[in-house]
Amino acid sequence: MAMKEWKPSDFGVEEEDEEETPSPPSSITSPSSPLPYFDRDRHVAFLEMMYNLMPYHYQSQEINRLTLAFFTISGLHLLQALDRVDKDRVANWVLSFQAHPRSKAEVKDGQFFGFHGSRTSQFPPDENGVSAHNAGHLASTYCALAILKTVGFSLSTIDKESILISMRNLQWPDGSFMPLHVGAETDLRFVYCAAAICFMLEDWSGMDREKAKEYILNCQSYDGGFGLMPGLESHGGGTYCAVASLRLMGYIEDDLSKKASSSIINVPLLLDWIVQRQATDGGFQGRANKSSDTCYAFWVGAVLRILGGYKFIDKTALRKFLLTCQSEFGGFSKYPGELPDIYHSYYGYTAFSLLEETGLNPLCAELGMTDLAALGII
């Protein structure tokens, strides 16, 4: 099949995007009518292409290389095409990004001994063995561990202790997390990464769960959704980070079957807000009165799955919307008829997994990867 050659002239106006994905040009004509089915083979080819070489548009995402790898490899696993991947090669490559302390003392000096996101932030130690540029990052660490689990690598063999002890350096007194020890923004995304890391390592010594819970609760907005920080507008991504974290940490269960008063979050209010996120075009929006975007089919859909409310959506309408975002080149775009990118493609696949599309592996909603990988089944 023909893969589109992206020419520099195609690189048009940057797309609006809340996540910093590379910008496929938005000025492209829509395909005459979308395919009425999920085109698995084309998506596998798309991911294989990415696995082997990503187009230059992704160079601005170099710092998040491990995230790009996660989308690609976990994507292949979702599509039951992990055989396309050399698992040992991937595991070794991922492991090479881990920051290692030289001594036990170093682990408590403030640095974070997780995984780097890319070689751009990773430097060999100098002649004295001093690693002056440790940029272990929470999100990269989450991606690294998720990839390792996906390819069946046992996490029992990695240096968990350094990760967990040094991770505490990243948590603030209000319970929030920054992703890097040198400082960066703090918001729910990194609370989620921390919870997912502890969950995958099966060890909660990496964070103060109670404080994290308090921070999350402070992020619930007056309308029931969660903003990324206290006071901010309720948002599909923020709500996912909040609810998935609480589930991973063990603070909520399938809350619809319980009495409203016994949950630590206002579930009825959240539920009413979140079912309203399905728009008239069948897609999901991230915030009230905004356009539907492919990725919220995951962020919002996964919250519903976790709470036991996925049955409340109109699956036919959602599927129809998602298919208008399916690209003829493989992958998914943010909005109908645009060019695909790896981020929206991945969340398109997770959305179809939630819809129980034939031929896709089931999804672990709270970890954002396949159930098989989450459970450690190769």
């Binding site: 995007d17 790009l68 490559w93 002056a132 960066a184 007056y222």
Partner: protein, 329 residues
């Protein structure tokens, strides 16, 4: 002084950089998801790596971080090093704000840029307040829902002040677009946290009035309905007792158009113990006349039934809501 003109010339062609050996990226033997870097990107990052490894905190290093940022604004390592260089050179941070201003429009959704801006502003103190509020205003004039801009604005208010004019600003944004949920959220932020308004309860009456007007103008607008509920957060008794709330539901239902949110609110009121007058029953009956499927005598059940049909995307949800209603006594 950083100049823009030489930002695109290859570094290897410049005398200034002739003493530096660029440090190539060591991707290792079997890299996964390798990226087809353009030459300009590769070269810039090779020089950055060299300078970073050598920890050279010089004016040319500062210019290099600018170049790298423009190619790679998400690279937090580059931003971090830029901060180290700014400190080492004791650069006038107002100039740094100007630099950020120049690149703000095309990077308005970049987390690193906003974090860097806060770092600069923290060092400048309260003097920066006006500039920050102005910058976010400009960004929001291009994209009135930019999450980062609103977040920065909230941070500025809390760190530096400026609360006095914020309610007016929200009003202005809402006049331009009453559907702007970000502006409604900001309004809530102000009425609940401003040290000048006396707290939510003090402004509740006027806020309810404002919200009711917004609802009546556009009853299909989700935002003011949520806001109205929010004004009575954790106080459902007061919500039930405020006749303005039930009244706006009734008014909208009586128009027989765009009444989904009105029905939903009424359903919630009933579940909190609202005792409806006959008018509510009459309004519902006027809305839905069907001999084959007469409405349930229980008002809440009747509402669920109607919603199941007129809000069909959420039919399963409304059926579930009905199933959860207390059995009639």
């Amino acid at each position: 002084m950083e100049s823009k003109e030489d930002d695109r010339e290859p570094l290897s062609s410049k005398a200034e950089w002739s003493d530096v050996i660029p440090l190539p990226q060591d991707d290792g033997p079997n890299p996964v998801v390798p990226i087809a870097y353009k030459e300009e990107f590769r070269e810039t990052m090779d020089y950055f790596r060299a300078i970073y490894q050598a920890d050279e905190r010089s004016p040319r290093a500062l210019r290099l971080t600018r170049r790298a940022i423009l190619l790679n604004p998400g690279n937090y390592t580059v931003w971090h090093f830029r901060r180290l260089v700014l400190q080492a050179l004791n650069v006038d941070l107002d100039e740094e704000l100007d630099f950020l201003q120049q690149i703000a429009n095309s990077n308005s959704k970049n987390y690193q840029l906003w974090h860097h801006r806060r770092w600069v502003v923290e060092r400048l103190g309260t003097d920066a307040k006006a500039k920050e509020l102005q910058l976010t205003k400009e960004i929001l004039s291009l994209d009135a829902k930019n999450y980062h801009a609103w977040s920065h604005r909230q941070w500025v208010l809390q760190a530096l002040g400026g609360w006095e004019d914020e309610l007016d600003y929200c009003q202005q944004i809402l006049e331009e677009d009453i559907y702007n949920n970000s502006a409604w959220n900001q309004r809530y932020f102000v009425v609940t946290r401003s040290p000048f308004l006396g707290g939510l309860k003090a402004v509740r009456v006027s806020e309810v009035r404002y919200t009711v007007d917004a609802i009546l103008a556009k009853p299909d607008n989700e935002s003011p309905w949520r806001y109205l509920r929010g004004l009575y957060r954790d106080d459902t008794e007061a919500l039930v007792n405020d006749s303005q709330v039930s009244l706006v539901c009734l008014k909208v239902i009586n128009t027989k158009s765009n009444y989904v949110f009105a029905l939903s609110m009424l359903l919630d009121l009933l579940s909190y113990g609202f005792q409806p007058s006959q008018e509510f029953r009459d309004a519902l009956d006027a809305l839905w006349t069907s001999d084959s499927h007469p409405l349930d005598s229980d008002l809440a059940k009747a509402i669920c039934y109607i919603l199941e049909h007129v809000d069909s995307l959420r039919a399963s949800y409304w059926i579930w809501r009905k199933s959860k209603l207390p059995l009639a006594g």
